[in-house]
């Protein structure tokens, strides 16, 4: 029998779709992280740029290698692997040898994402998993912080950046301590203004509070991230540190310093809000954010490390399936 209307589809409803696609959602995060990345280049120069590019290369290459041939272009085109690489790079110290950054990129995607089943299936934030791996494997290189410079020093690259793989690189002479390290080990406070502009030692992308805040605001306004998570983190971390600040007998960070120092802003806006590894339910997001905020301050004050964002987020990532299970919203008409 001849088909009378050969061009007509029978595709079931709904026919309409909103405009946002998953790659477009990724693009929003790229846009939001751009200001902080620019600040990283301003303060840490060419070395930072090389580290970021190396981490991205490691991540994208791994994604390409471990994706079935026919899905490769598709998997790379959603730009999620590149984003993971960039976020990892932003958490690394500016003097880190490039080969370590490359390895970090490989681990982020390999153990953080591909092994779980690819995009959407991983339990832990891939970028943070990569950083945790590097911190455990190369504790000295990962805690040697170069001081922030200015645009005039753009081409001055720490010699350690070009260290030969698997050889013990000499520790760089111009290392300095991060604001959190100063507070924890020397009880020295850093001026809030420096934290705000980013003119301090620290990971490549975590220093400029102002620009991270700007990027975070963009994501919130575009509704790309769940607003509950950063709000819960700030409120919990702020309140907890306020209580400690008012009751402690030795100098500790003020609540504002707590919020603007270390990786808290980067973590709150760009790591904890990763939709794949944070809860689905609104109530779950509150619990998740509160947990991160609480753990960050707990680790910073009472743990052996000066910084706690990494483990706070990873721990709450692990709790996410459980949180989801117990915070299912009441179904309409079943609230008894």
């Amino acid at each position: 029998m001849k088909n009378k209307d050969p061009k007509l589809l029978v595709q079931s409803a709904p026919l309409l779709r909103q405009n946002l696609t998953t790659p477009a959602a990724m693009k929003e995060v790229w846009i939001a992280i751009l200001p902080a990345t620019a600040a990283a280049l301003w303060y840490f120069g060419l070395g930072a740029l090389l580290i970021l590019l190396t981490a991205i290369t490691g991540a994208v290459l791994t994604e390409w290698l471990f994706t079935p041939k026919d899905k490769r272009r598709f998997a790379i085109s959603d730009t999620s692997a590149g984003l993971t690489g960039l976020l990892l790079g932003l958490t690394l110290p500016p003097g880190l040898p490039l080969w370590m950054a490359f390895l970090g990129g490989i681990v982020s995607i390999g153990l953080g994402k591909v092994i779980w089943g690819g995009l959407g299936s991983n339990l832990f934030n891939p970028a943070l998993l990569g950083r945790a791996f590097l911190l455990g494997t190369f504790p000295i290189a990962m805690t040697t912080w170069g001081a922030a410079g200015g645009p005039g020093d753009f081409f001055q690259v720490h010699s350690s950046v070009f260290a030969i793989p698997f050889m013990q690189g000499g520790v760089d002479a111009v290392s300095s301590a991060t604001p959190l390290g100063l507070m924890k080990f020397q009880h020295q406070a850093t001026a809030l203004w420096s934290l705000f502009t980013g003119n301090t030692a620290g990971s490549i992308g975590e220093t400029s509070g102002l620009l991270l805040l700007l990027g975070g605001m963009y994501l919130l306004l575009r509704r790309s991230i769940d607003w509950r998570i950063p709000v819960a983190i700030f409120v919990t971390a702020g309140l907890f540190s306020l209580i400690v600040f008012l009751t402690a007998d030795q100098p500790v960070s003020s609540p504002l310093t707590t919020l603007f120092s270390g990786g808290l802003l980067l973590g709150a806006f760009f790591m904890a809000t990763d939709p794949v590894t944070s809860p689905l339910t609104p109530r779950g997001c509150w619990i998740f954010g509160a947990g991160v905020g609480f753990l960050v301050v707990l680790i910073r004050l009472y743990g052996g490390l000066p910084e706690g964002v990494l483990y706070a987020v990873l721990l709450m990532n692990a709790a996410t399936p459980l949180i989801d299970r117990y915070t299912q919203p009441a179904i309409f008409g079943r609230k008894h």
Binding site: A13, L20, F74, P275, P282, A330, R334
Partner: protein, 454 residues
């Protein structure tokens, strides 16, 4: 319109698709000319198909009973034209399957004017609606063939059969028309407000309801103004503006928006004293009780980017869809899909020669631009579906379980059967996952496993 600036009443969650009503909202209702051939499927309502009472070769007049209800959850069918029965057999249905139907060839010499069968053909006289008992009223509605005109086509008399121990206090009239593109209810309210109000009064009296609320989305200010103008101050009828949000017209959402009541799962509106009816159904009641016209025609919105001349049309039920499209200039060259109903919950039309049904609120044509889909990405758990679902289900989880065909888990842990398939989740999904399609598959599988409940 942003919910931030809305003053209309509403429910929680839902989505805001562009409403696309500009194409047809100002076009007056036109009548489609009679064509040569009509097909009346016997089972175009929910329930048992009707039983033919005419034979091949019989002459029928416009509005004559051609099939009687076969049981309680079944309704009557009437001839949409004066003409001759040429076939009773299997005919192509909208979804592409074959269904039993009566085919009628229109009499080319007839004026096709509708005359009340009581005066014209000596049918038994009816009482005025006000003098009928509840039983007489329910029988009359069943014999009028009136079904829910919003799209579900559930026989209306079943809805009006309220058990003795229950009392209806509120009649809720659904004029929300939340589906994009459709303007058939809107034009009805603008052009025939007196019929809407007459129908409300008939039904309110019969059901013994104290109040009537007509819910209309705010993007139809003309409808709201027209209705308000025709409402007599003594009548207990209220027009309630609602926020423009999908699925505002879903029964439970509408009850939530207007009365702020959560209808418990598994219960009917009548269990909490409410009767919900579409404005189209209300007008059909008025036309039947005042003019004797059974349900033989309805208003259909013809729209969408693939239609040459969008229109609001009065179409005799049984008219082949192709003839309706031809009347409006046909389809554009790049049309890829034609659907019946709205774009969110409508049914794709498999064969353009299938007839317009009692539940056909719209015929919409879409081009490549709307039907092309980006590739499907994995779920990134962005939770947009959770924020879209008016039932507070977890569509993300349901889709994942649906792909694994873990249907029992979908029901036991995530209550998939509570889903009304409004498609808001699928609209909101940035990864283009066919969530509602996976849910439909699961529901079908679960239903077929258990003995069907009536």
């Amino acid at each position: 319109m942003l919910s931030l600036f809305s003053f209309g009443q509403s429910f929680a969650h839902g989505v805001h698709p562009p409403h696309h009503k500009e194409q047809t909202e100002d076009l007056p209702i036109q009548r489609v000319p009679f064509v040569s051939r009509y097909v009346m499927p016997l089972g175009q309502h929910i329930g048992v198909p009707a039983q033919a009472v005419v034979a091949v070769g019989d002459s029928v007049y416009r509005g004559q009973l051609i099939a009687k209800p076969n049981g309680f959850i079944s309704t009557a069918l009437h001839s949409p034209v004066s003409g001759k029965v040429v076939d009773i057999g299997m005919h192509r249905y909208v979804d592409g399957s074959f269904k039993a139907a009566i085919e009628i060839a229109a009499d080319p010499y007839s004026t096709q004017q509708f005359i009340d069968p009581v005066t014209a053909y000596g049918e038994a006289n009816r009482l005025a609606a006000e003098q009928m008992t509840r039983e007489q009223f329910i029988d009359a509605v069943q014999m009028s063939g009136i079904v829910g005109m919003g799209g579900a086509a559930f026989p209306s008399h079943v809805k009006y059969s309220i058990p003795d121990e229950q009392e209806i206090t509120d009649l809720l009239v659904n004029g929300a028309e939340c589906e994009p593109f459709l303007t058939n209810d809107h034009r009805l309210m603008v052009e025939r407000p007196e019929a809407v109000i007459r129908g409300c009064e008939i039904l309110r009296q019969q059901l013994g309801a104290q109040r009537v609320a007509i819910g209309v989305e705010e993007n139809k200010p003309e409808s709201i103004a027209q209705l308000r103008q025709y409402i007599n101050p003594e009548m207990p009828i209220d027009v309630v503006p609602l926020e423009v949000k999908y699925p505002q017209g879903a029964e439970k959402m509408l009850i939530k928006s207007i009365y702020n009541k959560d209808l418990p799962a598994g219960q009917l509106p009548r269990d909490i004293g409410i009767a919900v009816n579409n404005v189209g159904t209300i007008v059909a009641l008025a036309d039947y009780f005042d003019q004797g016209m059974p349900l033989i025609e309805r208003i259909v919105t013809l729209s969408g980017p693939g239609v040459e001349q969008p229109a609001n049309l009065v179409v005799p039920i049984g008219t082949p869809i192709r003839d309706v499209l031809d009347f409006a200039g046909g389809l554009k060259k790049h049309t890829r899909e034609v659907i019946m109903g709205g774009p969110m919950m409508g049914m794709p039309i498999a064969d353009l020669d299938a007839p317009v049904l009692k539940g056909t609120s719209g015929i919409l044509a879409f081009t490549h631009k709307e039907t092309a889909r980006p590739p499907e990405y994995p779920c990134i758990r962005c939770a947009r579906c959770l924020e879209a679902c008016p039932y507070f289900l977890n569509p993300s989880r349901l889709a994942l379980l649906g792909k694994a065909r873990l249907f029992d888990d979908m029901q036991e842990k995530y209550q998939v059967m509570d889903c009304v398939e409004c498609g808001a989740c699928t609209y909101a999904c940035p990864s283009n996952i066919p969530i509602v399609q996976l849910i439909r598959t699961a529901k079908d599988n679960l239903r077929n496993k258990k003995p069907a409940k009536v």
